[in-house]
């Protein structure tokens, strides 16, 4: 492209990328200080997840959660959905069996999830348990589904499982009503080992990036639903009527997205203008 043909629009292409970061940070910071209150629509995967828990989970039903959270994604991607959903499980009186597939996950559950939940009369070892981290990925999932005692000897705090009353109520995957995977990875592990092998109802709490990968499994009804990142968390908070960090953050994310949508449109227009100029 010759210099004399460059106009102000095309100069944007060559603008130092640091200016874009600066604008993005301003757009993210402004709504934190002064919220706008942009509306939020509840998507079908979140609504189905919520409806399933609301209509199907009864008191003392057992929910198995395979936690695969990482610290980096915890504050915004996992936290809104995990807190809203786990609170919902506690409100329904379900028993929560939490086992971790990543090293950070049991710590997050212990220090950030449980302290934020209003547990009512629920007691550790009777209504909820932290089984700690187990390596092996899909192999560990498979072994746990087949025979829990073959994988788990003690909980996260070192208590033998025979001293935890709720552990005496489960022996394999068939004893759980609902299985959930909290993960930033594709859903195949859980679906293969619990839905396909045992016909169990499965749900997911994932990061936003997984949306496109999860949808085919949701459309084929292999999963009940899924809570997708910050947006999904905000939707779940809307459904449960307990506004939290998810709803508080949606303004900021929306302004950031509008900015990038404009940039994507602009870049595409500029690409075609640039190509036309080059052809001439």
């Amino acid at each position: 492209m010759s210099n004399n043909k460059e106009n102000w629009l095309l100069r944007l292409v060559h603008l130092d990328h640091r200016y874009y970061y600066l604008v993005l940070i301003i757009l993210l910071v402004a709504p934190i200080i002064r919220p706008i209150g942009l509306p939020i629509l509840v998507s079908d995967p979140t609504r189905d997840f919520y409806n399933y828990v609301n209509n199907n989970i009864q008191e003392n039903d057992k929910i198995l959660i395979w936690g695969g959270m990482s610290v980096g994604f915890w504050p915004t991607e996992y936290k809104p959905g995990v807190i809203a959903a786990v609170q919902h499980f506690f409100d329904k009186g379900a028993k929560i069996y939490w086992i971790s597939g990543t090293t950070e996950d049991p710590v997050i559950y212990d220090q950030y999830v449980i302290p934020e939940i209003e547990k009512g009369s629920a007691d550790y070892g009777i209504n909820y348990v932290n089984l700690g981290y187990y390596s092996g990925g899909e192999m560990a999932m498979s072994a746990f589904a087949k025979d829990i005692s073959s994988v788990v000897e003690q909980d996260y705090y070192g208590t033998p499982i025979d001293q935890l009353p709720m552990m005496g109520e489960v022996s394999d995957a068939n004893d759980f009503e609902f299985i959930i995977h909290i993960t930033g990875s594709p859903p195949e592990w859980l679906l293969r080992q619990y839905n396909s092998a045992y016909g169990k109802d499965c749900g997911f709490i994932s990061i936003s990036g997984m949306m496109g990968i999860y949808l085919p499994y949701y459309a084929s009804e292999q999963m009940i639903g899924f809570i997708n990142g910050l947006r999904g968390g905000a939707e779940y908070e809307t459904l449960t009527g307990n506004p939290g960090i998810g709803l508080a953050s949606t303004d900021t994310v929306s302004t950031g997205h509008i900015f990038f949508s404009v940039l994507i449109l602009l870049t595409n227009v500029l690409y075609f203008i640039d190509r036309r100029i080059n052809k001439q």
Partner: protein
């Protein structure tokens, strides 16, 4: 009100040091990055050690479960890869792990990733109560067939097959674009968390 939590200040400082890379690469950025990696590795090693103690050492020494000697030996053999002369031995336990993983995955893969997907597409009703639903289903059926045709190499992709394959290629590009957009959304949310920590928790704004 500005926070007096020293942990929060250290956290905010490390975040700002990390973000300084947006301006240009520097020592502060590298310090914060290596700190993060160091902590993550240290924590991971500790948990792995605890796993070995609770799942292997105690059952072996206290309960006398000597069958566990087999996985212990196989596990130790992986370390031979650090001795060039005997590194080939590490392939034995690695191939066992790979074989087991594949066997466990394959059991459900055909049903989960192939059969159920095909059934879901076949059962798709073309006509739905809403116009948008009908339009959406028609799009799904057309793009599925076109995308499959892209991978049809029985004859040269010319004529109607060429048009179909081209639509399939565009469909896949649209899917990748969509995935990229969602990943971008994920990263913006992560950035937002750091902003909230500094502005709300640390400085008491908002």
């Amino acid at each position: 009100m500005i926070s007096r939590d020293i942990g929060l200040w250290i956290q905010a400082l490390l975040i700002l040091m990390y973000f300084s890379q947006l301006y240009k690469d520097n020592l502060l950025y590298r310090f914060s990055e290596y700190t993060l990696i160091g902590i993550a590795v240290g924590h991971g090693v500790l948990l792995a050690y605890q796993n070995v103690v609770s799942m292997v050492y105690i059952p072996l020494t206290v309960r006398g479960e000597y069958m566990l000697l087999i996985p212990i030996i196989l596990g130790l053999l992986i370390w031979t890869r650090f001795i060039p002369k005997y590194s080939w031995i590490s392939r034995i336990p690695m191939s066992l792990i790979m074989g087991l993983s594949t066997a466990i995955a394959v059991r459900g893969a055909i049903k989960t990733q192939i059969y159920e997907q095909i059934i879901a597409t076949i059962r798709l009703a073309v006509i739905e109560p809403s116009t948008l639903g009908t339009f959406n289903n028609i799009i799904i059926i057309i793009t599925t067939i076109c995308t499959l045709s892209y991978f049809l190499f029985l004859r040269e992709q010319k004529g109607s097959l060429g048009i179909s394959a081209n639509i399939g290629r565009l469909t896949m590009m649209a899917m990748y674009g969509n995935t990229f957009a969602w990943f971008y959304m994920s990263r913006v949310a992560s950035l937002l968390a750091q902003m909230q920590l500094i502005l709300i928790q640390l400085l008491g704004l908002g």
